[in-house]
Structure formats: structure tokens, C-alpha cells
Amino acid sequence: MSSATKDNFKSFNIDLWKYDGQKGALIPLLQSAQDTYGYISEKAIDYISHVTGIASADIYGVVTFYAQFRTKPLGKYVVKVCNGTACHVNGAKMISDTIIDELNIDYEETSEDHNFSMLSVACVGCCSLAPVVVVNDETYGRLTAPKLRKILRQYKQRAKKEQQSSEGQA
């Protein structure tokens, strides 16, 4: 990598990534990159390659292997549908159908206004509350289609309000 590219990396905060040359640091580096930016950009891959000496292609291989890493940013509200066994037998399909219908996005998709993303997770570990949906950090359990619709509509309104107030400020 040329020194010219190095200058482009100024916006990345290396301290945040706590790398001091130790072995096996690639995954923690990627995790902190994603924590900071919400996703792994091409630039982040190049930067990590530059710091660690691991080829960008190898890093991309690792990024795409693990479910945790994303190469695209997520929406403001991330709706995670639990697809663990308990949720599955208790109606996770009904949950995802409802979200698809209400938010117009499918798994791994983000709405056009960037307000919502829908993800599938394999068990959030509160099987006794199945079926479960997690919106950002808030967990909603024992859901029915009408209950979920109500929750999603509240988020829609919240997103709309937030948008209006930020536009107002601007």
C-alpha cells in the first residue's frame, strides 16, 4: 500500500482498535471497526490490511465468513427476529411475515429511508418469551401479529418525529 493511501486513513482512529501487533487480532479489529462505523467499509478493510499486513482479499474472506460482519450500513432501528427453535415452533414465520408486510423489508434488507433493517438471529436466549423480536436493544416477547404491528407502528412514528425535528433544526 502506498503512502498516499495512508493519508486517506486519517479519519480512522487507531487507538480505538487497540492493535499492537499481537497474533490473531484480525477479528477483534474488525469488530471494533464495526462498532465504530456500524459496518465494515472497503476503506476499513484496506486500512486494516495496511496496519496488519494481511491481504485485503483475506480480510474480505473473513468478513464474509462470519455472520456478525456487514459490508453495508444498517438502518436506524434494527429489527432482529429470533429464529431459534423455540421461536420457530411458536410462530417466528408469522413474525417475519408481519414485519415484511408492515415495513416492506425482508431479511438482510434496509428500508429506503434508512430507518429500518431486518435481521435474523439464531436464538437471543429468552426462549420462554417466544416468539421474540429485538429492536435495537429492546426485547419484545410473547408476540402476536397485532401486538407486533402496534410496536412497529410506534417505531415508525418515532422515526418520523425524529426526522422532522432534525429537519427542523437544520
Binding site: K23, G24, A25, L26, I27, P28, L30, Q31, I54, G61, V62, F65, Y66, A67, Q68, F69, N83, G84, T85, A86, H88, V89, N90, K93, M94, D97, T98, D101, V121, A122, C123, V124, G125, C126, C127, S128, L129, A130, V132, T139, G141, A145, P146, R149
Partner: protein, 584 residues
């Protein structure tokens, strides 16, 4: 003064535990001398969350179930200030009959009892005594003998004898050795490792240190799922506190033994539960398994001898050292000693965590401990071992909890996920569910696992869509055997189990899908008929939602589904707010 403990495991938090905790904190501001507020992990009764334990100075107490922030005011007013317990909210008595009596809690001894954030509480309950005993009174060989006597077997699913594993690593040549704790609990429907890490993280760390002494390792990793943020936070806290107290670090208890533990967060890959894949992941590579031998005991992390055990296995170790291997071996059967923790989920009344002595029957767990099936529906099957396991039909649930006995049914003990299914669960759909999971989690290294599972999944999808043929069933069996034969690691070798066991015990359900084009459990969408019943208010929402205009009806009048136009997308069912759309 009374002590109030709020259960703040992930399940407790999901049920609103933090809000309850906050409500108690607010009350505490008004009545600062009324009580002491603490948090604790999961006691296992997830079905009654949020749980709040009230105890007096001498430690005796009782627990309130289903506490909401609204109820906190009355608990403070009546109980903590007025000293009048609110009987109708207390957990126990008839509703919980048999729940605790039939359990034997060794691994879960501290879960939901102590504050997992406080090492002092762990020490007060006998914590780090076992490590002290190990380092001051025992040789590494003594430790291994004790674990061998206990008969402890790997609780992650494999069931390999733990003492033997330690012996191999001890015997391996090398100047540097590692201990790894496998906390990559990826099996959907299993959450016991998470609860242990959240409720009693120090017990796992102590078990690891004892293992380190036994095999001659001075460095260790906990490889934990990133999806378990609370567990990771608890571990970090427990490691920091143990270092401060001198239980981890250099020259522990004045001996020559040094031991350090680091945490590695997994990045979401089920295959990383396999030990060689896990090692690759710690090394920063794609988590793909490799051929064994050499086993990790000879050449593991960075090529050094490495001993890998699962969370529950390590959590057993301090108890075994303190109470003796033979005390542990007193529980269980000839081949399966001690206890096992199960995560109970699905159509069961009391879902949550239970720990039982080996040798009791599956029926005992489901009916005596967990109160049977929700709504008294017909019990159909139990799924054990997650995606690697199988479905055991109700008729065979007098099978004992024992590695060999369970293997005989075609399922496996697995890590301890036990999902109970009733008459409303479609077994073909369950098989499809697990295969969807293993298919997407296959790392792609072995052709049969990568492509074979895909072909199997396509066949299952076809059957669920009503397009299957009887030949498909033979193909499923053939493909299954080939995948088992030609896959390198446990993921591929066991992926067909859910299909094989459902084919063996529930073949009639497959045949109903194929021959009669019916899903007996009314689950598979393509084989359903949607109708509207008298609860319809005529709100027109379903008619508007229907993409093919198959629903007609006047406003405020009963609507009708025209079957010739219906594409069975189920949209009407999800939009109806009055439960008026019925599927059959």
C-alpha cells in the same frame, strides 16, 4: 434489614427486569433504610420472570414472580415496610410443585443465588476454595485422577471423558500449552452456557484455572458468542476481580502456578463450536475445521497443545475437587455420571433451565419438573441436541438421560437444548428448520456438507410445498448417509440427524404431505386453507391486504375467502386483529 434481589439474566432483562430494578432504586431513594438492593443471575424459572427474591438477615426468603414496575410499589409498601408478604404473588406452593425437588443443582448452585458481579459473594459460597486446594494440596496427576473418578464427560455435546482429555494434553510435549473454554453456544434453543456465564462466571474461571494446573497451561481463552453481551461483561468483571484478589495472574496462592485468561468474542459462525474451527477463529482466520489427528491436545492453538472444554464442563470442576470425584459419580448411571443442565423451551409450561441427575427419564423432566404441555395439548415429540440432534417421539420419552440411551434413539445428548413439541408442530417443518440452519452454517469445505445439505433442503421445501414424491424420501435417506460419511467435522456428520429421526418416527407426516397434500399440524402454508369465522367485524383490512383480491365482503359484514383465487400467502392471517382468519 431485608435484601431484595432482582433476577437480571438476559431472560430477566428481556421480561423487563431492568425497569423493575429501576423502580426499586427509585423507592430506595424515598425509603433508604427499607432494604438492600442487589442483582442476581437466572435461577432457571424463566417462565415466571421477572423474579424478585426477598430475604431477611438470616438468609431465608421467598421469591415474587412476574413482577412488573407497577407491582414494586406494593411490594415495598406491604412487605418491606409493612412486613406483610404478598402471598398471591409468591412463587412456590402448588404451582411450582416438583420444580426444585426433582432437580440436583451442582452447576447451577450459585445461579440466581449470588450476585455474579461480586467476587466476595462467590468466595462466601466457597468460591476459589477448590483452586486453593488444588494448588496447595494436590499434584496435577491427583487433579486428573479426581476428574477421572468423577466420570465427568464433555458437556458441549461430544461426551468425551474430561479426565482423559486432560491427560492427553498433560502428556503432550510442549513448552507452552493453552486452555480454551468453548462458550460459542450456537445451537438455537440452548441457553444454559449463557445463563451459567451470566449467573456464576467465576465458577467457570475457577474450573479453567484448575484445568490449567492439571495440564500445565498458563494461558487461556474464553471463546464467547458476541451475541451474549451480558455474559461477556460478566466474564470481564469476574476476571478483573479475580486478578485483584490474586486468584488469577502470577504465582497464585503462593505457588509457582501462573494463569491468565483472555476473552475472544466469536463473530457468529455455528461451525466454530467445532474445536479445530474454533482454534482457527481465535487465530483470526475463517472458522473452518481441519482434519484430525493431530488433535488439539497435540497441536492446537498456534500449533501448541490445547485443551478445549465447554462452559458447563468447567463449571462442574470446582465442585468435583471440593466434594470429591466419587461424590459426583454417585449421581447418574453407569456410563453417564453427575448432572446435566437442560434448557427447556417450546410448548412447555415451565420453560427455563433445569439441572437433573443423569438417569432420570425425559418424561420426568417434562412432566414432573416442567409441568407438562401448555394448554394440555397432546405431547408429540422432544427435540434433543439441536441441529445435530434428533426428535424423540413421545412414546419413547421414558428413555433415560444417559449418553448411550439417547444415542440409541438417533438423537444425541448434545449441549442440552430440549425443545418440546405438541400436536401443532409439523415434524417435516422442524426437519426443514434445522436443515435451513445447518445449510446456511456449513462452512463450505466439504462438498457433501455444502451441496448435499442444499439438495436435502430443496427436497424438504418441495415436500412442504406439496410438490414432493415418495422417491424424495428415499433420496433424503441416501443423501443423509452420504453426508454423514463424507463430512470432516461434527456439523456435517450430524446435520442429517433431524431428518433421519423424523423420517424414522414420523414418516406418516411426510407421507401425508406427499400423498394427501395435507399438513397434519396445519403449519406448512402451501397446504393450508384459509377461511374467515364469525369473529369477523367486517373491518375490510384483510380484503385490502389480499394481493389477489381473494377476499370479498361488505363493510361491517362477514368476509369470505374465495379458495380459487387464494394463493395461501397468509397475509390475511397476519393482518387480522380479531383472530377471525382461521387456517386448516
Amino acid at each position: 434489614m431485608k435484601t431484595v434481589k432482582v433476577g437480571l439474566g438476559t431472560c430477566g432483562i428481556s421480561a423487563g427486569g431492568e425497569k423493575v430494578y429501576q423502580a426499586f432504586q427509585d423507592e430506595l431513594k424515598e425509603h433508604p433504610d427499607a432494604f438492600v438492593l442487589k442483582e442476581t443471575g437466572c435461577i432457571g424459572m424463566c417462565y415466571r420472570e421477572v423474579l424478585v427474591e426477598v430475604s431477611n438477615g438470616s438468609g431465608t426468603g421467598y421469591t415474587y414472580g412476574e413482577v412488573t414496575p407497577d407491582r414494586v410499589g406494593r411490594i415495598v409498601e406491604d412487605d418491606l415496610l409493612g412486613h406483610q408478604a404478598i402471598d398471591e404473588w409468591i412463587v412456590g406452593g402448588d404451582t411450582e410443585e416438583g420444580y426444585f425437588e426433582n432437580q440436583k443443582r451442582i452447576v447451577l448452585r450459585n445461579c440466581g443465588v449470588i450476585d455474579p458481579g461480586s467476587i466476595d459473594e462467590y468466595i462466601a459460597s466457597g468460591g476459589y476454595e477448590a483452586l486453593k486446594k488444588t494448588l496447595t494440596e494436590m499434584t496435577p496427576e491427583d487433579v486428573i485422577t479426581e476428574v477421572e473418578t468423577s466420570g465427568l464427560r464433555g458437556r458441549g455435546g461430544g461426551g468425551f471423558p474430561t479426565g482423559t482429555k486432560w491427560k492427553f494434553t498433560r502428556g503432550a510435549k510442549g513448552d507452552k500449552k493453552y486452555i480454551i473454554c468453548n462458550a460459542d453456544e450456537g445451537d438455537p434453543g440452548a441457553f444454559m452456557d449463557r445463563s451459567i456465564l451470566e449467573g456464576d462466571p467465576s465458577a467457570v474461571l475457577e474450573g479453567m484455572a484448575i484445568a490449567g494446573y492439571a495440564v500445565g497451561a498458563d494461558e487461556a481463552y474464553v471463546y464467547c458468542r458476541a451475541e451474549y453481551p451480558k455474559a461477556i461483561a460478566r466474564l470481564r468483571q469476574a476476571i478483573a476481580q479475580a486478578k485483584k484478589k490474586g486468584f488469577l495472574g502470577d504465582k497464585i496462592f503462593g505457588s509457582d502456578f501462573s494463569f491468565n485468561i483472555k476473552i475472544k468474542e466469536g463473530a457468529g459462525a455455528f461451525v466454530c463450536g467445532e474445536e479445530t474451527a474454533l482454534i482457527h477463529s481465535i487465530e483470526g482466520l475463517r472458522g473452518m475445521p481441519r482434519f484430525r489427528p493431530p488433535f488439539p491436545a497435540q497441536s492446537g492453538l498456534w500449533g501448541k497443545p490445547t485443551n478445549i472444554n465447554n462452559v458447563e464442563t468447567f463449571a462442574n470442576v470446582p465442585w468435583i475437587i471440593l466434594n470429591g470425584g466419587s461424590a459426583y459419580a454417585a449421581f447418574g448411571t453407569e456410563n453417564s455420571k453427575g448432572t446435566k443442565v437442560f434448557a427447556m423451551a417450546g410448548k412447555i409450561r415451565r420453560s427455563g433451565l433445569v439441572e437433573v441427575p443423569m438417569g432420570i427419564s425425559i418424561n420426568d423432566i417434562i412432566f414432573d419438573i416442567c409441568g407438562g404441555i401448555i394448554d394440555d395439548k397432546r405431547f408429540k415429540a422432544v427435540q434433543m441436541g439441536g441441529p445435530s440432534g434428533g426428535c424423540i417421539p413421545a412414546e419413547m420419552c421414558d428413555t433415560k438421560i444417559d449418553y448411550q440411551q439417547i444415542n440409541k434413539t438417533g438423537a444425541i445428548m448434545g449441549s442440552g437444548g430440549l425443545v418440546v413439541m405438541d400436536e401443532t408442530t409439523c415434524m417435516v417443518d422442524v426437519a426443514k428448520f434445522f436443515l435451513t440452519f445447518t445449510q446456511s452454517e456449513s462452512c463450505g469445505k466439504c462438498t457433501f456438507c455444502r451441496i448435499g445439505t442444499k439438495r436435502m433442503l430443496e427436497i424438504l421445501e418441495r415436500i412442504c410445498d406439496g410438490q414432493g414424491t415418495m422417491e424424495d424420501l428415499a433420496n433424503l435417506e441416501e443423501l443423509s448417509n452420504q453426508i454423514i460419511e463424507a463430512s470432516l467435522c461434527g456439523l456435517g456428520q450430524t446435520a442429517p440427524n433431524p431428518v433421519l429421526t423424523t423420517l424414522k418416527y414420523f414418516r406418516h407426516e411426510y407421507e401425508a404431505h406427499i400423498k394427501e397434500k395435507k399438513c397434519p399440524a396445519h403449519v406448512c402454508p402451501a397446504l393450508l386453507t384459509y377461511t374467515i369465522n364469525d369473529d369477523c367485524t367486517g373491518c375490510t383490512v384483510c380484503a385490502k391486504a389480499c394481493p389477489t383480491d381473494a377476499i370479498t365482503g361488505e363493510k361491517k359484514e362477514l368476509h369470505v375467502v374465495h379458495q380459487d383465487k387464494c394463493i395461501k400467502c397468509g397475509k390475511c392471517f397476519t393482518v387480522c386483529r380479531f383472530d377471525a382468519v382461521v387456517k386448516d
